[in-house]
């Protein structure tokens, strides 16, 4: 189960609305390498994981990603609050506005709605952990690109925090992959899938 805490993981206090920035940052909510896909990826993958430490890691990182969904949503909410219709027209935010007004809805910056096709849960732990490491790097690249597009220090500060978390998660998933391999046959990690095949594991 989960419990909500009435606070953000890291402060978001944006003084100046900016619809143009909201239009690109929304990708980290509902885009291909966004926080929603990240959370659902790890929380769904947990059930196929045979190793206790990695079950814990998938649970804890999947939960942290939910806090990141909330931070991105707070950034979008504050960037689009009190916008005039003139600003909405001039910024190109009108294509989002027509469908969602200034409500928060998970789409990619291109406008494509969120889809579960953005992540995998393959039921094979080496495949899943390798996907997760790539996913953290892809999200880090997206944050790097957002930092190239955003000048406002109030926006850059929480985005930089989120970017750093991708690097920490990448590191932890690398360790998780090592833990998984330590439980497998070192002569051939791919000989069997411990999430499916019986008696699959290290030769004793």
């Amino acid at each position: 189960m989960w419990q909500y805490e009435k606070k953000l993981q890291y402060p978001v206090n944006i003084k100046t609305p900016n619809a143009k920035l909201a239009k690109v940052i929304v990708s980290q909510l509902g885009g291909p390498d966004g926080e929603l896909a990240a959370s659902l990826r790890y929380l769904n993958q947990r059930y196929a994981m045979p190793y206790a430490q990695v079950k814990g890691l998938l649970t804890d990182i999947g939960t942290e990603e939910l806090a990141h969904v909330e931070m991105i949503s707070a950034i979008l909410y504050q960037l689009t609050k009190d916008l005039s219709i003139e600003e909405i027209k001039a910024s190109g935010f009108d294509t989002y506005f027509v469908d969602h007004t200034t409500g928060i809805y998970p789409v990619a910056a291109s406008g494509a709605p969120f889809t579960a096709a953005y992540f995998q849960s393959k039921g094979d732990i080496l495949t899943d952990l390798t996907e997760n490491m790539a996913a953290e790097q892809k999200a880090r690249t997206t944050y790097d690109n957002i930092l190239r597009l955003a000048d406002d220090p109030d926006v850059r500060d929480p985005i930089r925090f989120l970017r750093e978390r991708e690097i920490v998660h990448f590191q932890r998933f690398g360790e998780a992959l090592r833990i998984a391999q330590d439980n497998l046959d070192s002569k051939n990690f791919y000989a069997c899938n411990p999430a499916f095949d019986k008696n699959c594991g290290r030769r004793r």
Binding site: Q3, E5, K6, K7, Q9, D60, K81, V168, A176
Partner: protein
């Protein structure tokens, strides 16, 4: 910065340290120094949260102590500019 915000930021700092330690301990379950740091920040967080909920309202519904008013739903909510 007002007292409420300062105290909340203090809790966020302790939570950040704890979150980092949780992920680290997930893959380093026998690390004594990380376990000791976890204990330290857990205690710091617990007294800061106790002070916050007493002065400024609950961070989780069960921290509601007011017998005349359900303060859990009071504004501001975390995503709001302040």
């Amino acid at each position: 910065m007002n007292e409420r915000k300062m105290l909340l930021n203090k809790i966020k700092k302790y939570d950040f340290a704890l979150k980092e330690l949780v992920l680290f301990l997930d893959t380093h379950t026998e690390c004594r120094s990380a376990l000791a740091m976890f204990k330290k920040y857990k205690e710091l967080r617990s007294s800061a949260v106790e002070e916050y909920s007493r002065k400024f309202g609950p961070l989780t519904p069960e921290q509601n102590n007011d017998m005349r008013h359900w303060s859990w739903t009071d504004d501001p909510w975390p995503w709001e500019r302040r």
